[in-house]
């Protein structure tokens, strides 16, 4: 199980990193989304993964997983939506301003 989670984090990070190194805004945003997934799963998994033990208190439960990383990740997911939205808007603004969605400045700089 751990191997699956770890490899998933690794692959999502790889794809995310590859995409943020592209030259257009859209792949960069998608890449950041991928990195967000990877980060969230990473932090979540730092509480160690276990199936079937949700942190919902009850008399019948045999144990609970660590609730702390979950609380951290929950807000992180929502914040990453906010971040993505801001980036999308920036990309749109840049696109309308410049006519394309390149992320690099030209040689002489684009003002």
């Amino acid at each position: 199980m751990e191997l699956l989670v770890a490899s998933a984090v690794g692959v999502m990070t790889t794809v995310g990193l590859y995409l943020i190194l592209r030259l257009r805004a859209f792949p960069v945003i998608v890449g950041l989304t991928m990195i967000s997934y990877a980060c969230n799963v990473f932090i979540f998994a730092s509480g160690r993964v276990v199936a079937g033990l949700p942190p919902i208190l009850s008399k019948t439960a045999t144990g609970y997983t660590d609730p702390m990383p979950q609380a951290l990740v929950l807000t992180a997911i929502v914040i990453s939506f906010g971040m993505t939205a801001v980036l999308v808007m920036l990309a749109l603004g840049a696109f309308f301003e410049a006519g394309d969605d390149r992320v690099d400045l030209d040689e002489e700089g684009r003002e």
């Binding site: 030259l23 998608v30 998994a45 993964v49 609730p67 997911i77 929502v78 993505t84 920036l90 301003e97």
Partner: protein, 951 residues
């Protein structure tokens, strides 16, 4: 009144002018003055105690671990300076009321002035040197605002910048010096440091600390070679000059030297550095002042000269000299503030400050003439005014100091001082009345001359009866400086055998001769080139700016990919280094079995991830795959015992994909192939290395047990007892870590507002807006944009979706759900209406403003947090209870639910604001919006929204 409150009052008072300026200018000035008066009265109440030798203290722990505490103390020196700052501040507030013209924003002026006043009072009352540094920097910042108050004048802006650069730079040096001093003494409390003279002076670090602290003091007090900023700061309005350069800002450096005098003074290093800087500054500035034609420039250089005089006295290191220094601080503040204000009156009435264009004003402005003459003669050191007393005492001290060059130069400085003081009075006020003034001058109203007149009265009173009007204050302040009981004997006549008498007479005689020869000397002075401090300063600054620009161009090439590649590799290298140098133990946790369903999900994730990477140029397809990945991640969360995360992830996923789809409406649908194979290979290597590192790290982490006891147990054990909920994740969010959540929803609200602001920017007239209005879709519209089935289905579903949202919200405290998820679910339900029925139709029915939702959410969450104060508990402590109403089952009510409501509203508002902003862009791009329920062809029109937007 506590010293802390005295320091805090001006800061509180700074809030008032901005409000009261709406009432009237007089109300604004009155209230500002009242606050200062209140602080002054509070200070005055302590006078008897301080004169008895008591020290009044106030202490608040701020960051005790860093040694930074808000500790204040009031002793004789603090009393003297705080009295000057508040007293002259009060006079300046009165004077500025009449000096500032109707065009000047008076509210701003008083706000800056009060900020500055508070910072100054803070410096002189601080007992903690770190706190003192905070106030020290605040004076640099607020004086920047004051000097640059006339923003429209380039001289004002440049002068302000120069003052900030020089004094701020010195402040940085002083921070280092103070830290060293604190380390030597083992405490950052002044009262403690002052008792460690022997250790400090014996330390190897004494000289570096001394030089660094003196750098701070010399820059602030405009000592050579840092004197050049002060004359340029004269571009400020005269009330500012009068305040900053008579009693406050430039005296801060003097204050610091006096404050540190007991531990720093008395060594040869101190004597030579401080005395020579002071002496040289005094003579040089006095000479320049003699040749200045601008009244304020003359006064500026004379201020520099007098500061040099005080510095020199402190440098002597003897108790008698320090006492004279304290006395001269009082005298200089009185006559110099009066002179500055008089110069301001002349400028205000005659519309020029150029001495060569003035003269004869004695007949036209008798009141101003009287004030300026009294103050000017005092500055020259003519009996019986107060300047005479301290100058005699200064010469007396200099005469007893070796080597001989010190008294000789002191006399020359005094001689120039006589010359420029007389020139100021004679060439401005005496002589025949001219007929070519830029404006016919006359005396101003009472309000304007009241302040300088009062100071002139003080000049005379202290001069005539020094022991009655100043002796007690000098004793108290000098006692605090020297740490010894001081009984100053200030008198006019020291006897014929006193060297000071002859030195003084020589200075007066020589000064008069020099004044008579002003015209020929002036021609010589003008004929020779002089080093222009501003040009040198500008050259140095420009060189630095060029260097920075060069470095920046290299580092900041504009290629985002380069930065990110460098950052990734640097982080990776850091990780490898940490791995190489750290110690590791093998993992002890056993691996869990892989179930087939998990393996299937993993496989789908792999396919989708690599699919995204390989087919990212087809953007729509990428979005579909991103949706798949998000879905599997959320299912994974559910599988791995995180139901709340699963619910959040899936609803965020929907919102994110909708958002990206909306943006793809405009952005190109395909990414062009521009990267070379080499570049792609390089990027794959970097990305692969990063992914491998992260994957290995989390794998290693999961194989090992926690290095420290986890805090999870505490939360699990207390969620029900303290937070009243069984869903531990939700209890953590709204209760244990409620403060974090509060911060997070605030950030979310800010992000949404930012999106709105960006949209406004795009929609503003400009190239982006032009492109938007001429935008042509590169894909044809769907034939049926609002399919009947979808419209009906979404309408049917809306109440159900809202009910589900409410249900998820209510149950959140005990089972998976809560404000975050409910907010997302309701947002998606509403977005569905936009999608199905169109923007125009939905917007017309949407009564609630999304900004309002965000604001209300944050405010409700904050109010819930504050509510716990009324129950006598810390911020954000939740409370809950069980209630029974009528036929309903017993149910629980928790204040945390109210907090969660705030979360809900903020999330809902933020998501909706983000998505509707994108829609507004679409409307501007000419997309039709329907106003009728269904999308009949004949009802289609460019939406009313579009027209409204254009306007």
């Amino acid at each position: 009144m506590s010293p802390a409150l005295i320091a805090a009052l001006p800061f509180l008072g700074a809030l008032l002018p901005g409000l009261l300026i709406r009432v009237s200018r007089t109300a604004c000035a009155t209230v500002t003055g009242s606050v200062t008066l209140l602080a002054l009265i509070g200070l005055g109440l302590h006078i008897p105690a301080v004169l008895r030798g008591e020290v009044i203290t106030a202490r608040f722990d701020w960051l005790p671990m860093l040694g930074l505490n808000a500790t204040f103390f009031l002793d004789g020196l603090g009393l003297l300076f705080a009295g000057l700052i508040l007293g002259i501040g009060l006079l300046i507030i009165l004077y500025a009321r009449f000096y500032l013209s109707d065009r000047d924003p008076m509210g701003q002026f008083y706000t800056y002035l009060m900020l500055f006043q508070g910072a100054m009072v803070g410096i002189v009352l601080s007992d903690n040197i770190l706190l003192l540094l905070v106030f020290w920097e605040l004076t640099s910042l607020s004086s920047f605002l004051l000097i640059g108050y006339w923003k429209h004048l380039p001289e004002g802006r440049q002068g302000a910048r120069m003052a900030l650069t020089v004094t701020g730079g010195g402040g940085l040096a002083m921070i280092a010096g103070m830290l060293i001093l604190g380390q030597i003494a083992g405490s950052f409390d002044l009262t403690v440091i002052l008792q460690h003279k022997a250790e400090i002076q014996a330390s190897d670090w004494y000289l570096p600390a001394l030089i660094l602290i003196l750098l701070g003091a010399f820059t602030k007090s405009a000592q050579f070679p840092f004197h050049f900023w002060l004359p340029h700061a004269m571009a400020a309005p005269t009330p500012v000059s009068a305040y900053l350069h008579s009693a406050t800002m430039v005296k801060a450096g003097i204050f610091l030297m006096a404050r540190m005098w007991p531990v720093l003074a008395g060594t040869p290093e101190w004597f030579w550095i401080v005395t020579s800087a002071g002496l040289f500054t005094m003579v040089m500035a006095a000479k320049i002042a003699f040749f200045k034609d601008d009244l304020k420039a003359l006064l500026a250089f004379s201020t520099v000269s007098h500061l040099g005089l005080i510095t020199m006295l402190l440098g002597f290191g003897t108790k008698a000299a320090a006492t004279v220094a304290v006395f001269h601080i009082i005298n200089h503040a009185t006559f110099k503030a009066a002179l500055f204000m008089s110069a301001g009156i002349v400028d205000h009435e005659a519309h020029t400050r150029d001495i060569k264009r003035l003269g004869g004003l004695r007949h036209l402005m008798p009141i101003t003439f009287t004030i300026a003459t009294v103050a000017g003669l005092s500055m020259a050191g003519i009996p019986p005014f107060n300047g005479f007393l301290s100058k005699e005492m200064m010469l007396e001290e200099a005469a007893h100091t070796a080597p001989w060059v010190i008294p000789a130069l002191a006399v020359i400085g005094a001689l120039f001082s006589v010359a420029y003081s007389f020139r100021l009075v004679a060439h401005t006020f005496l002589g025949p009345v001219r007929d070519d003034y830029p404006h016919k001058p006359h005396d101003p109203g009472f309000g304007m001359w009241a302040s300088p007149a009062l100071l002139a009265v003080l000049v005379v009173l202290i001069g005539l009866m020094p022991m009655t009007f100043a002796g007690w204050l000098v004793d108290a302040a000098a006692g605090a400086v020297t740490g010894d009981t001081v009984h100053a004997h200030i008198k006019h006549w020291h006897g014929l055998e006193s060297p000071a008498l002859w030195m003084s007479l020589f200075a007066i005689g020589g000064g008069l001769v020099l004044l008579g020869l002003h015209a020929p000397f002036d021609r010589i002075w003008l004929a020779f080139p002089r080093p222009e401090a501003k040009r040198i300063f500008d050259t140095v600054i420009e060189a630095f700016a060029a260097l920075t620009a060069r470095v920046n161009r290299r580092l900041h090439s504009g290629a985002l990919g380069q930065y990110l590649a460098v950052a990734t590799l640097a982080i990776l290298a850091g990780g490898v280094w940490a791995f190489q140098t750290g110690t590791h133990s093998p993992g002890t946790r056993s691996l869990q079995e892989i179930e087939p369903v998990a393996a299937a999900g993993w496989f789908a994730l792999m396919v989708a991830s690599f699919g995204v990477a390989l087919m990212h140029r087809q953007r729509l397809l990428t979005l579909v795959l991103i949706g798949v990945i998000g879905l599997i991640v959320s299912v994974g969360f559910a599988y791995l015992s995180a139901p709340d995360l699963a619910l959040t992830q899936i609803s965020v996923e929907v919102a994110t994909v909708i958002l990206m789809l909306l943006s793809l409406n405009f952005l190109p649908k395909y990414t062009p192939a521009v990267s070379s194979t080499a570049r792609k290979t390089r990027d794959w290597i970097i990305a692969g290395a990063g992914g491998l590192g992260v994957g290995t790290l989390i794998y290693a982490l999961m194989l090992r047990d926690f290095a420290f006891p986890t805090i999870a147990d505490y939360h699990l054990a207390n969620a029900k007892a303290l937070g009243g909920g069984t869903n531990v994740v939700n209890v953590i969010l709204v209760d244990f870590r409620g403060y974090d959540t509060f911060g997070e929803i605030t950030v979310l609200g800010i992000a949404a507002t930012l999106i709105f602001a960006l949209t406004e920017t795009i929609l503003r007239p400009g190239p982006a807006n032009d492109r938007l209005r001429n935008w042509k879709s590169d894909t044809p519209d769907a034939g049926d944009r609002h399919p009947l089935m979808m419209v009906v289905a979404t309408r049917m579903m809306l109440p159900i979706a809202l009910l589900v949202g409410i249900y998820i919200f209510l149950r959140g405290h005990n089972v998976p759900g809560g404000g975050f998820i409910a907010g997302l679910v309701v947002a998606i339900a509403l977005v569905m209406q936009y999608m199905a029925s169109g923007f125009g139709w939905t917007a017309a029915r949407q009564k609630i403003d999304y900004h309002g939702l965000i604001g209300a959410g944050v405010l409700i969450a904050a109010a819930t947090g504050i509510g716990s104060w009324f129950a006598g508990r810390p911020f954000m402590t939740s409370n809950y209870g069980y209630f029974h109403i009528g036929p309903l089952e017993e149910f629980e009510l928790a204040t945390a639910a109210l907090f969660d409501l705030g979360v809900f509203l903020t999330v809902l508002g933020a998501v909706m604001l983000a998505l509707s902003s994108l829609t507004r862009i679409a409307v501007r791009a000419g997309q039709t919006t329907n106003i009728e329920a269904f999308d009949m062809q004949d009802k289609l029109e460019p939406g009313p929204g579009a027209e409204a937007e254009v306007k």
